[in-house]
Symmetry: C2
Subunit: 512 residues, 2 copies
């Protein structure tokens, strides 16, 4: 069938789709979500490739009339030999092979590496629709993936994008998340780098928390770099703390995450490849994995976390990464600060002055850093944390952080007082004497996000006293910050409606 | 957040979605696929309802700039108090409750009827996205639904649309499909109606076959009617053969089918409710279900078909429908004709002249009609088929078909010669002596569709000789028709490439 290309003033995202009038679709015998192959009548292909696209249907003919084929703006930009007003030939196409492989996983069968490569490749090229990928993700959520499949998926996703080489021994740290205020990377990276190990830390922006490492670091220095600039920074300073999204690594992983997020799905079968692919793309060889366990994390019990850890280590080893895992406490935030600027400030204060604490941040950061130092041969087994504390106390970690900040285009002489928080602020005080028996992470997340995190860097929450602290009536327990008055009010509403995230009590926790 | 409504010259289909610029989405803390709630600053709602919509993101700002919110054409048409250029308030919204219920099914848990109602309701209102529905369908494909869930889904889908009442005793026939040329409804309905039973037959257009009942009937008379006209026809003639898509019954079913089709999924947990809801919507009380079994059908073995039949009968009984099931042969087409006009012609010939046959059409039609006659008390158990044959032989069925054709606006005096086929035609002849050992349904479907079925009514395939027939070299075996020369060539290509659907052989079928 020959159809006239009609430009559509809209963008289609990653999926390769076109729009047909219902009459033409019926004539072709194809339905919405099925496929056509488009050919340039002169060259027989577009940009030298046969091009199949997923059909959307205009039932009313208000956008695409019979005889026309609707092509989205971004597709016209991408395929320069496809022009508004030209006549092209259109015929029905079968779904790609990867479609059958998705069905195979849904039927509960194991996929070969070739089949996994096919799915990854077609996800990246846009030949699989969002519906296809949603079905795939759901299939993996229910039927799982075994070790061979996860290994194949990791390698496949890694090859879908740019891969960096930073040397023979490259170190990294990752967290499976779920605990607010987890700013430990801002302490760990300078420690490891100061010890002479290469640690090109790339992070995501906040997923469910009020601030991801990239959000917090961005308070101190830019975090988006081209591959060329990144290589410069790392080769000069053997470290960085950047936002991974600015690189072109593992697009396949990003595409899957985009569908997983609104579905609230993060199946282990895709999570492990997702973590490892990001590391593999940056040439990481040795990794410490922080696994927060308990309510609000991905692993409600330590046993859950342990099972995951064994699995993760095995797949990591399969793809050439040596991984050590640490189950960590997650019952309350790390440190006192939650929110990009507050967290960056707390990290900077500690780097400059060990005695300023806070303890939870010192203990967790140096414990995880210590594991890496042992893996890197800088300390004997069991002595890594001690060395990490030394490096931190000595000011060497702070010196390294200044170098990293400067290399990334920030002001190396930034002091904590320079970091803007608020300006709107509200303090909350204890209404009675007692002990803090619970700090509710979930409420902290809600309140911090309501105040504007992570987009508004100066918003957030400071938990003045934490679990176990003895409180007197009138003591300050929490500070709420926001860049805007309305957002402050919004956060206050949640605080008032719920009674806030700090629960005071005596020796009896609850009466039923 | 306040945003300026910007009209987008595009239609969004059923799902309620809007477009945000990436910056505004980030500020709201929401991602693609997540939701916002829109409020009219004056009335606080649109058309008196709070309205939540699913977010699409414009990353480049080419369609929707910061400060704008993109609203699709069809939404602007639907919500008349939402206008291009007005300022509206936008805030983040949680997914609807039905979203959690979908996750529940994915986790392998049973859904309550309230939860199923919630999913159906939100699917119809567009609050669940295509991704959400794809996840749901995949979850049901893998985890299944039990009898209570299927019953609840049937009732829920039925209540999502118009429900007709045609009297206390209403009969119907349905087929699970998979065998080409299955024109039996064109014989069954007139027989049942001639016996004085009410049979308001509604059908879909072709799904995988070259012609659905609605496509074939449309050759003889119009098949799309308003509810008012439909009630008139059925109350006057106690029968009809119409296209169900023109009624507003069970929109929920249509919405699910639209996602199932491109995924090639038809899980039993959704299939049974889908069939029953269409019947329930037309007030059907007694149903005969034709279950073709064997290669190419939904039930590869008779045992598969039998299991399905037991399950179907039970759910049907739960919703007040008495169902009898018949496993039927599907190794080759029913009759000789495949394609709308060819099938309508073959049916008309038989209705006018019992001796014209063909046997397979007579036997299958009267067997299924006989079951209904027994259920309707018109014949003793085991004598239904005999009565059906009598009614057909006597010409009473033909008389009734003329009434139905006239009531639906067709020419009651139409004769087989009036029915246009082709005009382009090609005949195929046997290249050697032998017996027909196989008629390949899949190839017949492919060839018939390539010739233009079902959109082009005059296209199709005539299988002159069927399985078991003794053939001499030079005998005609198949006729290919098309409305266009190019489509005829296209069909011929497939025939030639595959050797055609008719396989000749001796007593040895294959040597390996």
């Amino acid at each position: 069938m020959k159809l006239l290309v009609k430009k559509i003033d809209f963008e289609t995202g990653n999926t390769k789709s076109i729009v047909l009038n219902i009459k033409n679709a019926q004539e072709l015998g194809q339905k919405a979500g099925e496929r056509v192959i488009l050919k340039n009548p002169e060259t027989r292909a577009f940009e030298n490739k046969f091009w199949s696209a997923i059909i959307q249907i205009d039932y009313l003919g208000s956008i695409v009339k019979p005889g026309e084929i609707g092509i989205f703006l971004n597709i016209l930009r991408e395929k320069r030999d496809l022009k508004n007003g030209m006549i092209i030939s259109v015929k029905p196409a079968d779904p790609p092979d990867s479609f059958k492989f998705i069905q195979k996983k849904i039927k509960g069968n194991k996929l070969t590496s070739e089949e996994i490569n096919s799915i990854v490749s077609d996800a990246v090229s846009g030949s699989l629709s969002r519906i296809d990928l949603a079905a795939f993700i759901t299939g993996v959520s229910i039927n799982g993936m075994d070790n061979e499949e996860m290994t194949a998926l990791t390698l496949s996703e890694t090859r879908s994008g740019e891969i960096f080489y930073f040397g023979m021994e490259v170190y990294d740290k990752h967290s499976t998340g779920g605990v607010p205020g987890n700013k430990v990377s801002l302490i760990i990276v300078p420690i490891i780098a100061a010890a002479g190990l290469t640690i090109p830390k790339s992070s995501t922006r906040a997923i469910t928390s009020p601030s991801g490492t990239a959000d917090s670091m961005e308070v101190l220095a830019p975090v988006s770099f081209t591959p060329k600039k990144l290589k410069e920074i790392v080769s000069t300073h053997n470290a960085c703390i950047i936002w991974g999204g600015a690189l072109e690594t593992a697009p396949a992983d990003n595409i899957l995450i985009e569908i997983e997020r609104p579905l609230h799905m993060d199946p282990v079968g895709l999570m492990i490849p997702s973590i490892l692919t990001k590391k593999l793309s940056l040439g990481v060889k040795k990794l410490v994995l922080d696994i927060p366990v308990g309510q609000g994390t991905k692993f409600p019990t330590p046993d859950n976390g342990k099972q995951f850890a064994y699995l993760f280590k095995e797949i990591a080893a399969n793809v050439g990464i040596e991984a050590e895992c640490a189950l960590t406490l997650a019952h309350q935030p790390i440190g006192h600060a939650v929110g990009p600027a507050l967290e960056a400030r707390e990290a900077l204060i500690l780097l400059k002055d060990f005695s300023a604490g806070p303890n939870s941040l010192i203990e967790k950061s140096t414990d995880l850093a210590g594991i890496l130092l042992e893996m890197g041969g800088k300390a004997q087994k069991g002595e890594g944390q001690q060395l990490a504390k030394q490096i931190l106390k000595s000011g060497k970690a702070y010196g390294k952080m200044k170098q990293i900040i400067e290399a990334q285009g920030g002001n190396p002489n930034i002091i904590p007082e320079d970091i803007k928080v608020g300006p709107f602020m509200k303090e909350y005080f204890a209404k009675k004497d007692g002990y803090i028996v619970e700090v509710n992470n979930s409420l902290i997340n809600q309140i911090a996000k309501a105040s504007g995190c992570p987009t508004s860097k100066s918003s957030g929450v400071e938990i003045i006293k934490k679990q176990g602290a003895k409180i007197k009536e009138g003591d300050i327990v929490l500070r709420l910050y926001s860049h805007s008055e309305s957002k402050l009010r919004r956060a206050e509403k949640i605080y008032n409606a719920t009674g806030g995230p700090i629960r005071l009590g005596g020796m009896v926790i609850e009466r039923i």
